[in-house]
Subunit: 546 residues, 2 copies
């Protein structure tokens, strides 16, 4: 028999999952709620709605329409929040530009996304001047003077506040297909051109709904209706993890810190009562240091940490200063939220166990299905031990890389998004990231983590730095090789290192296949542009010498 | 320009918002979590998944297919939870049968929904025997013996547990259109046939996601990851407010109490550690009484109250016994959750103010847009005073009444769902229900609440019972008339009543248009089948006598 469907009336509201609908609901409960930008701007949600209308009118006057890509280069600000809504609500596409990219990457990504309008903060005028000559597709630039009052650069069509002031607040927003593109941005790897990911209205609404309160409430983790929100993740970085959408949906007070300044961040925390933030470990470390210097009270401030692993040392340091800190996991391709770390519900964990729970990648959000699989996509057990590539399904994963069919097909091989991360999953769904797939050493049917091996070797007498890579081996598939930078005047040996590895094998910390056959002493390790050890180059160099 | 859309790969997972997807994710984090039925059954989520597969296989063997309607008559049980998943996951439609309807209403609703299979608990065998002869569309009945071991009724194709035991757990569930019907049930008014509402997979997933943690976290209201859930709303009543879906999504321990027995409920609360429930005021009252009798500790038990107004007296009584109680608002047509009461965030409320906040209808859930409108659909201000009909948009409202175009068109007039309730909304979005639209007295351009007037008149010396209705008036539109049942030996007068109303007018409690022109002394008030005063009959009778 066929499926049955309801028969709506001509007037039934079909409620598309578009970003504008999220704003409508928030305005009913929070019209007087505050949105703060540094010590410069205070406005209400009602003002936000007026300014969104004005921004859409101003962009339209500059030629923007449904389908137009509008690129933004700004720090975390109320303006960026306005762009998060106004641009997608017009049916246009918001391109959040990573201002840390090289000019070549900027050019590439803005050209690939088809950006026609650029909003540019004064701090990035030099960047804009460098790339605009080779971007003829950009027909208008809105300069963001940020209250300074300097003359505008020659290529600017106008200044943000001046354009808004003369624009009509009553922009005729209309409903449209929830599967339309809302945002796009580019992610940079170690090699090759940046890859453009993209997200639809439906996807961002579903991510916002799911992540809201999605951490559960144990240990007061996640945004609640009495929180004051301040991002410490750049808003060009994966929608600031969708948190500005969540905060607005819940009608929370929001505080935008502009360019990150540790002293100002500590002051905003105190004067505005900030209670929830999120950021990378480096930002947390910066905040802790500044708080110590300024005597800022951090107690009760919750912070979700992503981007790279939250170490136990940093967790404990933050806890000692009264913060509630926990890890999360995701990537540009996943919007980003996939898992969040939490204490185990209804179990009294020891301090040690709690620290582990809070520093793991965490448990999947609702609707997120995770699997670990071997190279043939066979599912591995959730026993906390088996290691496989983490693959994911969720309603908000990028459907493709823009204009890159081969990479898109690899990303979605077998109907699951491939994270390229190797993980374990335990019976309670806790995901632990073990290594990058390309760095894990596949030997004798086992996947040995290069990171685990590096941790062990780094502890050996005389080792200053170490990288472990896998090299092809006819019998074992791959075998691990350690490249060691010695401390001055010392010379660690294969034997001294293997003694330590044997001990780890004996205590069950690592597989017996982790024993090293080879150790190379090197003067330094090659690094990528973002400062990571370039294992790809190491593998290529050593494999060529085999 | 046209909208832009992503270009997914052939293998990109499109993630339809179907009910089965919610279950997949929960199984990763909660495979060992418990589901308990009375003191009879304990099983895990892993068992739940196996039994869902078996149930789908058993139903298929009895002729069920995509599009088949399967009706269920059961108490709150693990079986009902299995039906909540297995039936929609097959692409079939779950009809939750209100076992309190008359046999005529049962027949009507099962015929209209096209039910082909019936699952029937032993307590309802007599009901089934009464209606089956006039329902030839029902091709199979599964008897639920509930562990007693009696002979099955002659019309039964088999017993639930026996059928499951021999059925294949590996049912081949497939993805399908998220807009397919998932559930249907009938709502009874004071007159006319029951009306069938219906909900799609997409709608139930969106309601579940939004309501989950959607109350925010002030005062620990709403389901969190460390709660133990037990419904005290019948599962045939508007999906038990979607809470079983929420509890499963979050991987919580769930406790199903079967037929409501206050002593057993108190025992389950203690032995299973139940921390979150929901129900009508009558159930709460019943629990409080039983807890007092049995000495059950209720502290920390949260309960959401809906169905009818939560009085301040009941709230205080529950609070004194340690419970966290708050109101919610919705109706069959709205799935039902629309608003939930909470303490105002980031404000220190007095006890009095907190009691008001917790007993109002509450604030709209995320994505719910509410308006109050006059008879011409003009929007009225959110000033806490203006009264208008509450109209709603949300992604989970019934698209129509099944097979009733006229009622559907009235429900969705002007693109908003009409609740038929009169409400105020304040600047913080707090909704207060004032009256039913059909009962409010529209006089002199004001909407006077018949309930408010009745509260005032009920306090007058000599008044045992009172109903206030509006009658047509050439000059004022309508004028209020009070029908008073006097206390034995007393005779309240229009003058004595109006003195009290004047005082209320003077203190601003009620509009001056509330003054009565007429008071009728009656021996008793006519009532509907569910025990409410039949104001429709009163209006007709008195209008005919004008």
């Amino acid at each position: 028999m066929p499926l049955r469907f309801p028969e709506p009336t001509p007037e039934t509201d079909h409620y598309p999952l578009t970003i504008g609908r999220m704003l409508d609901a928030a305005l009913v409960i929070a019209s007087d709620q505050e949105i703060v930008y540094r010590d410069q701007v205070r406005m209400t949600y009602r003002d936000l709605r007026v300014r969104i209308g004005r921004l859409a009118s101003a962009l339209t006057a500059l030629g923007a329409d449904q389908g137009t890509t509008v690129a933004v280069m700004d720090w975390d600000s109320h303006r960026y929040l306005e762009c998060y809504y106004a641009i997608p609500m017009m049916g246009a596409v918001l391109q959040t530009v990573n201002v840390r990219m090289s000019t070549a990457q900027l050019e590439y990504s803005m050209r690939q996304s088809g950006a026609e309008i650029l909003l540019c903060h004064r701090d990035f005028y030099p960047l804009a001047a460098a790339v605009l000559p080779s971007l003829p597709g950009i027909r208008a630039v809105i300069a963001i003077d940020d209250g300074v009052g300097d003359p505008l650069p020659p290529y600017a069509a106008g200044e943000y506040e001046a354009l808004l002031e003369k624009a009509d607040p009553d922009f005729p927003f209309v409903d449209f297909d929830e599967n339309a593109l809302a945002t796009t941005f580019h992610t940079t790897g170690t090699t090759g051109d940046p890859k453009g990911v993209c997200f639809t209205h439906r996807q961002l609404v579903l991510l916002t709904l799911t992540a809201k309160g999605g951490f559960g409430t144990t240990g007061a983790i996640g945004l609640g209706c009495d929180d004051v929100y301040m991002p410490l993740t750049p808003m060009f970085h994966v929608h600031a993890w969708s948190m500005p959408y969540q905060a607005t949906l819940l009608g929370l007070k929001q505080v935008y810190p502009g360019r990150y300044d540790p002293t100002l961040i500590c002051r905003l925390r105190e004067t505005e009562g900030v209670s929830y933030s999120h950021g990378v470990p480096t930002i947390l470390q910066m905040v802790l240091t500044a708080a110590e210097a300024t005597g800022t009270d951090l107690s009760g401030w919750t912070m979700t940490i992503g981007g790279s692993a939250l170490t136990r040392a940093l967790l404990l340091q933050a806890q000692q200063m009264g913060m509630l800190v926990h890890a999360g996991y995701g990537m540009s391709e996943t919007g980003p939220s996939i898992t969040v770390a939490r204490r185990r519900p209804r179990i009294v964990e020891s301090e040690e166990a709690a620290a582990e729970s809070l520093t793991l990648a965490g448990v999947p959000l609702p609707l997120v299905t995770v699997r670990i699989v071997d190279e043939d996509m066979r599912q591995l057990p959730h026993d906390g031990v088996s290691r496989g590539e983490l693959v994911v399904r969720a309603p908000w994963l990028t459907p493709c890389y823009m204009g890159n069919e081969a990479a898109s097909a690899a990303l979605w091989r077998g109907g699951w998004l491939h994270t390229q991360d190797v993980a374990t999953i335990d019976a309670e769904g806790r995901v632990a990231i073990v290594d990058r797939l390309k760095d894990v050493i596949k030997t004798g049917g086992e996947w040995v983590s290069s990171l685990d091996l590096e941790d062990i070797v780094a502890d050996v007498q005389g080792v200053a730095e170490v990288a472990v890579i896998g090299l092809p081996d006819a019998r074992w598939g791959e075998r691990p090789v350690a490249l060691v930078v010695p401390r001055p005047g010392e010379q660690p040996t294969l034997e001294s290192v293997n003694i330590r590895i044997e001990a780890a094998v004996a205590s069950g910390v690592i597989s017996r296949y982790a024993r090293l056959d080879r150790l190379e002493i090197v003067a330094e390790l090659p690094r990528t542009s973002v400062g990571k050890v370039d294992k790809k180059l190491l593998r290529a160099t050593l494999a060529a010498a085999l």
